[in-house]
C-alpha cells in the first residue's frame, strides 16, 4: 500500500512540474502563436485560457480512451478523432466567451479558434494514450493552469503597458506605450517572460539544493 502511495505522489509531483518547470508555453514553447499575438488585453488572455482549457482537457481524456482501441486502428485516425472533438468543443467555448465579454471573439479574431489547433494536445495526445483517464485529466488540468498562468501574466503586463488599464478599468499609470500591443512587442514580452521564469526556476533550484544540503548536515 505504501509503495503504491509513493508512485501516486511521484506521479502527482511529476505532473505539477508541468506548471512551472516544464511550462508548456515558456519552457517547451508549444502553442506560442496565440500567446504572442492574442494576449494584449486581460480579456483576451482569459478568452485564450478558456478555449485552451475547453479544448485540451476533453481531448486528452478522449486520447486516454482511444488508447483502449485495438492496435489495428492506425495512429492518424486517433489524431483525426481528437481534432474533430477539438473542433466541436469550440462551440461551447464560444458561447461561454460571449457571456464573459461581448466583443471577445472579434478582438481575438482567428486566434480564438487557432488555440483549438495548438501543438500542446498534438504532442501530448499520443503520450496520454498509455495513461489512465484520471491521470490524463490531471495532466490536462496542469497544462491548462500552466498555459493560463503564462498567458495571464503576459496579457496583464501588455495591457498595463499598452493601454494603462486593468480589465478595462483605467489605472494611475502616467506612461502609455501603445506599441506594446503590437505583435513585435508580444514576441519580446513572451521572450523576457520565459527568461524571467527560467531565472526564477534556477534560483529556486539553488535554494532547494541548499536546503537539502542543510538537512543532510543536520541529519548527519
Amino acid at each position: 500500500m505504501r509503495q503504491e502511495q509513493n508512485t501516486v505522489k511521484k506521479n502527482l509531483r511529476k505532473e505539477l512540474d508541468l506548471i512551472f518547470v516544464q511550462n508548456p508555453v515558456l519552457v517547451t514553447g508549444l502553442a506560442l502563436a496565440p500567446a504572442v499575438v492574442g494576449s494584449f488585453t486581460m480579456k483576451n488572455g482569459v478568452g485564450l485560457c478558456l478555449v485552451f482549457g475547453m479544448v485540451t482537457i476533453p481531448v486528452l481524456v478522449l486520447a486516454s480512451f482511444l488508447g483502449m482501441l485495438p492496435e489495428k486502428v492506425p495512429q492518424y485516425v486517433r489524431t483525426m478523432a481528437c481534432a474533430l472533438l477539438a473542433a466541436l468543443m469550440l462551440i461551447p467555448a464560444r458561447m461561454l466567451a460571449a457571456q464573459i465579454a461581448p466583443n471577445l471573439f472579434d478582438s481575438l479574431g482567428m486566434y480564438f479558434s487557432a488555440v483549438a489547433l495548438n501543438t500542446v494536445w498534438l504532442v501530448r495526445a499520443p503520450l496520454c494514450q498509455e495513461k489512465k483517464t484520471l491521470w490524463s485529466l490531471w495532466e490536462g488540468v496542469c497544462l491548462t493552469v500552466g498555459f493560463s498562468l503564462c498567458v495571464m501574466a503576459v496579457s496583464t503586463v501588455r495591457e498595463l503597458l499598452a493601454y494603462g488599464t486593468l480589465w478595462g478599468k483605467a489605472t494611475a499609470l502616467p506612461l502609455k506605450f501603445p506599441a506594446v500591443a503590437y505583435v513585435f512587442a508580444g514576441f519580446i514580452v513572451v521572450g523576457t517572460a520565459a527568461a524571467v521564469l527560467r531565472w526564477c526556476v534556477d534560483r529556486c533550484h539553488d535554494i532547494l539544493t541548499l536546503i537539502r544540503r542543510q538537512q543532510k548536515k543536520w541529519r548527519a
Binding site: L26, V27, T28, G29, L30, A31, L32, A33, P34, V36, V37, G38, P74, Q75, Y76, V77, T79, M80, A83, L84, A86, A87, L88, L90, I91, R94, M95, F105, L108, G109, M110, Y111, F112, S113, A114, A116, L117, N118, T119, L122, A181, Y182, V183, F184, A185, G186, F187, I188, V190, G191, T192, A194, A195, V196, R198, W199, D202
Partner: protein, 197 residues
C-alpha cells in the same frame, strides 16, 4: 495580364508585407521548438506550403457558400477544422497505402503540418478578405513560403547568436523570441499598423 500583376503583388505582400510568421506570428512553435533538425525543418516547410495552399484553395472555393452562412457565426471555425482533418485523413490514408515506411518515419511531421495555426490562418484569411479561388491559392502559397523565409532568417540568427555570450537566462528560446520580435519590429516599418487578425 491584370491578374498576373495582381497575383505577383499578392504573393509579395504575403511574403514580405504581411509575413505570416513575423507580422502574424502564425507558426512560431514549429519554427523555434520542434526537434526536426535543419533539413527536417525545410521538409516540414515544404509540406506546410502544400497544406496552406490546398487549405486556402478549398476555403476559396467554399467562399461563396461560407459567406452566405452569416448568421451561423459559430460554425465557421468548426468548418475550417473539419476541412483540415478530412485533408489530413485522405493524405495519411494515401501515404499509408503508398509509401508506408516514409510515412511511419515522418508521421509527427505531417500531423504538425496539418493541424497548424498557419493552415488555419490561411483559411481564415481567405474567407475574411473574400479572395477568389486563384487569389486564395496564391495567398496560401505566400504564407507557406513566408514560413520558409522565416526559417532561413532564423537559421542565420541562431548561428550569429551562437557566438554572442548571451546571459544565461536568455540562452535558447528566449533569445530567439526576442530576435524574431526585433525582426517583426523591422517589418513593422512596412506594415505600419496592427494587422487585422
Amino acid at each position: 495580364m491584370g491578374t498576373l500583376v495582381n497575383i505577383f503583388t499578392l504573393l509579395l505582400t504575403a511574403l514580405v508585407l504581411e509575413n505570416a510568421v513575423f507580422s502574424r506570428a502564425l507558426d512560431i512553435t514549429s519554427l523555434l521548438v520542434l526537434p526536426f533538425g535543419k533539413r527536417g525543418l525545410r521538409l516540414f516547410g515544404m509540406i506546410l506550403t502544400g497544406t496552406t495552399t490546398i487549405a486556402s484553395l478549398i476555403a476559396g472555393l467554399l467562399n461563396p457558400l461560407l459567406g452566405r452562412w452569416e448568421n451561423v457565426q459559430y460554425l465557421r471555425p468548426v468548418v475550417y477544422i473539419v476541412i483540415l482533418t478530412l485533408l489530413y485523413g485522405c493524405v495519411c490514408f494515401l501515404l499509408n497505402w503508398r509509401k508506408r515506411d516514409w510515412f511511419s518515419g515522418h508521421h509527427s511531421m505531417i500531423t504538425m503540418a496539418f493541424f497548424n495555426c498557419a493552415a488555419y490562418g490561411a483559411m481564415a484569411l481567405t474567407v475574411y478578405s473574400g479572395f477568389s479561388w486563384l487569389e486564395s491559392a496564391v495567398s496560401g502559397l505566400g504564407i507557406g513560403l513566408s514560413f520558409l523565409l522565416a526559417l532561413f532568417v532564423l537559421e542565420q540568427g541562431r548561428r550569429c547568436m551562437s557566438i554572442c555570450n548571451i546571459p544565461k537566462a536568455f540562452r535558447g528560446l528566449p533569445s530567439e523570441l526576442v530576435y524574431v520580435g526585433l525582426i517583426s519590429l523591422s517589418l513593422y516599418g512596412l506594415v505600419g499598423h496592427q494587422l487585422a487578425a
